[in-house]
Amino acid sequence: MSTDSQKPSAGKTLFDKIWDAHTVSTVENGPTQLYIDRHFCHEVTSPQAFAGLRARGLKVFRPERTTMTADHNTPTINQDQPVSDPISRNQLDTFDKNAKEFDMPFYYPLGNKKNGVVHIIGPENGFTHPGMTIVCGDSHTSTHGAFGAIAFGIGTSEVEMVLASQCILQTRAKTMRINFTGKLQDGVIAKDLALYMISQLTTGGATGYFVEYAGEAIRNMSMEERMTVCNLSIEMGARGGMIAPDEKTFEYVKGREFAPKGEEWDKQLAYWKTLKTDEDAVFDKEYTFDASQIPPMITYGTNPGMGMGITDSIPTLEAIDEAGRISFQKSLDYMGFQPGEKLEGKSIDYVFLGSCTNGRIEDFRVFANYVKGKKKADNVTAWLVPGSWMVEKQIREEGLYDILTEAGFALRQPGCSACLAMNDDKVPAGKYAVSTSNRNFEGRQGPGARTILAGPLVAAAAAITGKITNP
C-alpha cells in the first residue's frame, strides 16, 4: 500500500488529507504506521492492554494523549456506593489501578463530574478536534468523525500498541461518500436518517470503507445530530464515518475545557478550515439519497440493517434472497414477528433513552418536548440514562427534569447501561424494548431481550402510548 494518494491525478478526499498528515511510515507491502492524536479508553477493553505493557516492562508512551472513563460496566443507580457485583468491581478496580500506576492524567472514574459515556465526554470536554486521528477500544468511536476527524474502533491488541507507541498499524480504507440531498421532513431526525441508510446499504454494505457524509441534510444538522449519524457508521460495517467541519463545528469546539485557546486556537482554526474534500477528488464508491423521502424508522430484526419505515410491513420471505432466508427467519423467530407483519400499534414493554448514539442533551430535549404534559404508559418501564454528568446537569438546568418527572419518568445515572446490558440494566427475556441505542442483536440488551431500534422521538411516543406509535 502506498501512502501516496492512489489517485494522483485527482484531488484528495478529507479522509486522504488527515490520513496522510498522520502517516509516520509505511510498512513495505503492508499497513501504514499511523500517529494517533487522541486515545479514549474504558474499563472493558483496556485491562489486557495494560497487562501487556506490564508484561513487556513498558510505560505508556504519551499518557497525556489518552482520556480514560469508566462507562460500560458501571451501575446507573447508587454510583456513590461500592459496585455490588464483585467481578465488575474488580474490573473497575483494575482500571483505577492502571490509571494510577501508569500516571494517566485524564482519568474520570465513577463519581467524577467528567465521568460518562466515552464518546459523549470526549466532545463535550473539548478533547475531540477537527483533523485529529482518534481511536478507542470501542466500535462507536466513529462518533468523533462528526468533527471532521478520522475516528475508529480498535481491538485490545491495538489499544496496547497505542499505549506503547502512540501509533497503530492500519491498512488504508477505501473511501465512500454518502450524499443526502434535500431536507428531512418534520418529525424525522438524525437517527431515522441513519437507520434508513443502514437498511439500504445492509449491515456489511460499507465494510472496508471509510465514509464521508455530505449534502444539504447533513449540513443542516447540529453537531449532536451529526454525532448520531457518524456513530452508526459501524452498523453498516464502515471503518468510520466523518463530516467536513464547518462553522457549526468550530462554534461547538470553541471555549470547551480542552479546546485550543488564544493563538493556538487561531492557528488550528486556520488549518481546520482547509479540511474538506477537494472538488475533483474521486471516491471509491458514492451513494446519494433523497433525505425528504425518509420516514421515521424502526428495526424489526436482529441487526441494524433490518429497518423499515414505522408504518411499513416487514418484508415477506419471498423478498429475501435465498441464501439469507434461514438467517432472516431465525431473526424474526427470535423477535416473535411474522414476515409481512406491520408493527405499528404493537405493544412494547421497555423504553431506553441513552447510549453514545442518543444520550446527549438534544436527545433529551426531543424526548421531553414530546412527553410534556402527557403521562407514561403504565405497561412501560422506561430507563432514561444521560450520557454524562454534564448532560445530566443540563437536563436539570433546562427544566427538562421537571417535565420528565411530571410525565412519570425517572432519570438514572450516566453510563452505557442497557445499550449492552453489562450491568444490571437488562431487558428480561421475551420483552420488547424500544431503544435509542445502536444494536438490536440477539441478547444485546439481556438474554432473550427483543430490541426495536428507533430515535428519541419514536421512543418518546412508545413510552406514552405503550405501543409502537408514529410520532
Binding site: S25, Y35, A51, G155, C167
Partner: protein
Amino acid sequence: MEKFQTLTSTYIPLPIENVDTDQIIPARFLKATDKNGFGDNLFADWRYNKDGSPKADFVLNNPTYKGEILVAGKNFGSGSSREHAAWAVAGYGFKVVVSSFFADIFKNNALNNGVLPVVVSPEFLAKLFADVASDPQATITVDLQNQTVTNNKSQQTESFEINPYKKECLLNGLDDIDYLLSKKDLIEQYEKSK
C-alpha cells in the same frame, strides 16, 4: 503469538449470516481482566440453556462435528470491537475461520491473535456446507504460504487474500507491537515535525 503455516482439519459448519460479536461472546462475559477462559463462553447464548446445560441442537454440542476450522455464513464478526470475540474463537481451539465475508475489526483482532480469517467465494462456501452435511469427516486444507484453501472432499481449491505484512507476522509468530517499538525514533521525529 503462535506461528501458522498449514492446517488440514475437519470443520464445524455455522451457516448463519451476520454472526455478530454479541453472539460470539455476549457482553456479560466481558468483565474479565485477562484473556483466558473465553472459549468456554463462545456462542454462549446459542450453546447453553439458561441453567447452563448444553442446547442439543447447537452445532458445537453435536459430537458429529469437530475440528480446528469454523466455517460461517457471510459477514462474520460484525458489531462490536471487542477482541474478546477473537479470544473466544481462539480459546475454543479454532485456528481458522472460513467465510465469504468478514467484518473489519474482527478480522484485525483475529489476525492479532493468530487466528486466520479466510475469505472464500459464496459458491465455495455453499459447497463446504453441503459437503460437511453429507460427510462430517470432510476436511479443509489451508496453506498460508501459498494462500490457498482446499475443500478436500470436492478437490476444489481457491486462493485467498491476506496483507503481505500480516502474512509474514503469522508465518513467523510476530506481533505489531514488536514492529512499532522498533520505530520509536520515527515517532519522535514525527512529533517534532508537528
